[in-house]
Symmetry: C2
């Protein structure tokens, strides 16, 4: 190491560190998501961050998403970083066949990577937390996913959110209803997807220019997008009249009607979800219902929990089609939003107790004390920093917001006692070595009662 | 998707999927490690999987470890996948200065990647789980790491393991004691590190050939490596006599003596650790005590929990040296070992209850039942697969080892009751809708009592 030529510790752009004050509440968030997913009976899966390239692209030479290639090759095949957890799930379903249960209700969390241009709020690496049901064609499976989305958001302490639901079959039915060629549909949907950003003016201009829509087509489309009603079921009834000419749209409407009825039985309140005909979802693999979740107070950050049905994805690996539906929490985006909304409480320490360590003749005694406290099940830290005086060590404990401080120097060691400081109540008691954990537990119980 | 040209779902070699039956116990292992680390007051950190290349290599053109490059460049700089969690920690310490507490006791878990030749038991991607103390020169910090290693292994249900401890300063003192040039030391240590694999015959032959050792030098080295004693403290006393000519070795001996005394106060039994003078640890950044953990019944798989002191690593980023020590669990290797030792219990399901769903006229009722069970805090699954008859759905529940099955068809719906099957006791009871959760909880409590 050349001291004159040191290395900058900066991260590449689009990447992010999570320091403990953020990581402690972030981990609490992971724990809440996981326990909610398990309450619905989902089971965990883990797959590598690196996959064979053609698994990710589906062998499609026009594959649009920017993936990170790793430089490593096996034979003439490249390896690349996964961009989501859904494609690896489809691979697993195909590869392990009988070793996994059907229906396969799996959850998975992990980092994914996208080689996008780095910009505000866009990360090149982020964590997803997915739940999917593979092997069920029932609309009650889609309803189950939506109920899971509702329960997860609620468990995280969020109440002001809307789950927006649509169906790709309605969007595919637009070709019949509006009257344009199937081949234009991908482009048309991509334009509609911008409605939130560029409004109807922008969307209609783009459709005129790119897809040669005439005024009649535009007015039909606008009628579709403007459809509103006092209830979802009424909306679906109106839609059924509007799109009577499209068989595929009628199937989509029947599916959404079934989901709406299921959501009642699953106790998902009407106020937390609605049919939104402008929801398209970018990924190409969706085939049926699609979902996204918008925070009422931060709509601009986009969806924080999204998904849909993708019945054809597993077929990529040679199996016949396998029905599948699911959704994914964008953990980093949701965490950033909750931070903005003041819902994240920064926490500095995991320790509930710090044992000071200021008298080198008593370090062995302090080690015995901290060991006893830990063995009683409490999180306890022995001070190991470079400060040697009591006051500076105490300042460290206060800075970390640790509620209990244990003090033991030579005189305490000789008498077999310790001093215990209750920071919140500004009280200090002396107790015997054997009583340390019991006294601390009673202080912590009182502290919880106060908070 | 072209059906005639489907894509193989195989993984690249050196990569591994964890199906739920393995992932459920593996996650339990993560939870145990995390709660032990938190019991010692460590706080969580997260950093990206991708780092700037020179951060990983330290700008060393001779850097030997195979890293995965990502293909993405920022300016003329490459980005690559991290090969451990220690280098990113050093970067974080340098980058955030005041925003992190000192001492900084952090833990971190995540995937790391090494572009090694894939071979049995060697993964190209694996999970590490690290705990480090940054900003403490005290040997009690090293002792704390060793105590953490002991407690973690014990909490995982392991008892037959040995933590082997050495000190790089002893190995550096070999130049004085054996009498050879400092510049040869890296090569000599690399050869000594092979002692487990190629025995003394191999080591001595290699030292003769590569480092031109003569018989006198070889016999001195052998004396060092053969040193045994009935206790660690006695061994250190003998070593002190043997290496009297080396000031650096004397410092290493004093450090190990202090650690040995600390381990007594920290209640780490003598039987679970020992001084082992052949432990070198491969990574170049270690500067003081080094640790590794060998399973008594599976020594051949190598160390499952290793680390040491690395006081100079942070200086790579321009700071003056920052004292640091820590250790890392090789989670995948440890999990594989525990599986071999029969310590991993495969678990198929997270759900404790499955609500069958065989009568389409009662699906709404079943949805209400499963929602009520979940709201009572229990993990419950609604059957969503393609089987439509009760018997086949029951077979699914039995296959998953789910202890409670709820049955409700049209007649139960009409009467507002449900049938509850206690699988273990082969009993079935009928109860009202409102009582479902209470009845299930009592069945599960009895089941636990029986197990």
């Amino acid at each position: 190491m050349n001291e004159k030529n040191t290395i900058s510790p900066e991260l590449g752009s689009g990447f992010k560190d999570y320091l403990p004050e953020d990581m402690i509440p972030r981990q609490k968030m992971f724990d809440t998501i996981r326990s909610t997913f398990e309450r619905f009976g989902f089971v965990p899966l883990d797959t590598p961050g690196i996959e064979r390239e053609e698994i990710l692209t589906g062998g499609d030479p026009n594959f649009k998403m920017q993936i990170f290639r790793t430089g490593l090759r096996i034979g003439d095949e490249g390896l690349a970083l996964r961009f989501d957890l859904t494609v690896p799930l489809a691979r697993v379903v195909s590869l392990y066949g009988d070793r996994i249960s059907r229906p396969f209700k799996r959850y998975q969390t992990g980092k994914v990577w996208r080689g996008e241009k780095a910009q505000a709020g866009r990360f090149r690496e982020f964590v997803q937390f997915d739940a999917d049901i593979v092997g069920s064609e029932r609309m009650s499976a889609d309803a189950e996913i939506i109920a899971l989305m509702y329960e997860t958001m609620s468990s995280l302490g969020l109440s002001r959110f809307s789950i927006r639901i649509n169906n790709r079959k309605l969007l595919n039915g637009l070709t019949d209803y509006v009257g344009y060629d199937q081949s234009l549909n991908a482009d048309v949907l991509r334009t509609i997807d911008k409605l939130d950003k560029i409004a109807w003016e922008g969307v209609s201009a783009e459709l005129k220019e790119r897809s040669s829509f005439n005024d009649d087509q535009l007015s039909k489309l606008k009628k579709f997008l403007d459809l509103r009603s006092s209830s979802s079921l009424e909306l679906l009834t109106e839609l059924s009249g509007l799109m009577a000419s499209s068989p595929v749209a009628q199937r989509g409407i029947a599916e959404l009607t079934e989901i709406a009825n299921n959501l009642k039985s699953l106790n998902v309140p009407d106020t937390s979800w609605r049919i939104d005909l402008s929801v398209a979802r970018g990924l190409g693999y969706y085939t049926g219902p699609v979902f996204e979740t918008i925070l009422d107070d931060l709509p601009s950050i986009g969806s924080v929990f999204s998904g849909g049905r993708y019945d054809d994805l597993v077929a990529r690996f040679g199996d016949r089609s396998v029905a599948a539906t699911g959704a994914s929490v964008g953990v980093d985006r949701l965490f950033a939003a909750m931070e903005k909304l003041g819902l994240i409480k920064k926490v500095m320490a995991t320790a509930k107790v710090v044992v000071l360590n200021f008298d080198s003749t008593a370090e062995d005694y302090c080690q015995k004390i901290v060991t006893a406290i830990r063995q009683s099940g409490l999180q306890a830290e022995l001070y190991l920093g470079k400060e040697t005086n009591l006051k500076a060590q105490l300042a460290y404990a206060l800075g970390q917001n640790i509620p209990v401080v244990v003090i033991a120097g030579g005189s305490e060691k000789d008498r077999g006692v310790v001093q215990i400081k209750d920071i919140q109540r500004r009280k200090q008691v002396e107790t015997t070595f054997d009583n340390v954990s019991a006294v601390i537990k009673s202080i912590l119980q009182n502290a919880e009662a106060v908070v």
